[in-house]
Symmetry: C2
Subunit: 204 residues, 2 copies
């Protein structure tokens, strides 16, 4: 080994030892075992997609999962095709309307959201369910389709082992307050704004 390479290895080793110490210390303190609330918000790409990645992950261990989608009613999506086609312990509920700006009917949208919320609330009471996804829930709350207090209560009083993922732009502080993990997806750039069409298998 050249002296230069030895030197580089030495620096790398010191940096990695210091990194390992930080990681080991954090791991030794992170001992509480329970389900969490994850909130993905912000205007960037990746919120629903990250939720769907987690669904795939949970199902990979055979954990029972319930997906509820509060906006994307009748859209086709690849992950649903794949995950529903095999015998996974997965339920998938949608609002059964189109995007709300297509329907433009507040009462119909609200009724569909409330019906969907009943499915979500049922999952949030069920100890057998490991993961509940409340996709685009922020819209249903911000449009006041759902009763905020009832939603917060159902989430915070869920079974201890259950994890909940909430997605959507414009999450209010009350959602951040009940979440254990909050990631804000910030859009630095979006292909759509450069005139590139949304793509099958990538965007939906």
């Amino acid at each position: 080994m050249s002296p230069e390479s030895q030197d580089k290895n030495g620096r790398h080793k010191a940096r990695m030892q210091s990194r390992k110490k930080v990681v080991d210390e954090a791991v030794s303190k992170a001992l509480e075992e329970r389900g969490i609330v994850v909130l993905y918000t912000g205007d960037g790409k990746g919120k629903t997609t990250a939720a769907m990645g987690t669904v795939t992950r949970a199902l990979g261990y055979g954990y029972s999962t319930v997906v509820t989608q509060f906006i994307k009613g009748t859209w086709e999506c690849g992950e649903k095709n794949l995950l529903m086609s095999a015998a996974h312990p997965l339920q998938w509920h949608q609002m059964g309307t189109d995007f709300t700006w297509e329907t433009q009917d507040f009462d119909a949208d609200k009724a569909a959201a409330i019906a969907l919320w009943e499915k979500a609330r049922e999952a949030l009471r069920n100890k057998e369910v490991y993961l509940v996804v409340l996709d685009e829930l922020t819209y249903a709350l911000n449009y006041r389709w759902l009763d905020k207090e009832a939603v917060l209560q159902a989430i915070t009083q869920r079974p201890r082992e259950q994890t909940v993922i909430i997605t959507g732009r414009g999450a209010k502080q009350y959602l951040k307050d009940i979440a254990d993990t909050v990631s804000e997806m910030r859009a630095e750039k979006h292909a759509f704004n450069s005139g590139i069409a949304a793509r099958r298998g990538i965007e939906w």
Copy 2:
């Protein structure tokens, strides 16, 4: 319908019509059909998970997908369990080392990264591959395991229909420059920092 409800419906309808106009205009301008480069960076949760959600999505349409993971060598993960267990058109390559702060050996890590990059470069030349994931590529670049210019060239000269997803903290400007979509996952809160253990089926 009560007057109050009519009024609310009227306001909602006006808001949704305006929203529909904005969306329709954007859709009418987004006509370019090609694969894109998506970059997920930042310190928050959701980067790899969003990439895995997209893999599930692409495979849901039967699109050929290649995943390369530049750090997470020997970890078990639920999505790999699930997606590799069925006959999907999916290749999954890992560095075959442990986290780099566990090994603390620069030359061994670099050799493993270069070997993995060869797999990635092969995929980036293959017109049959619809989606290539370069998970945690930023580390391999920031540690200078890989030649930056060779990586940028392989990505920008890929087949026109191919989409590439790059993940990892600390993406430099040269990666943002070649990306069509950049989302920065900003950690507002992380359960791990509140002493909650990483959870099977959720974190890995």
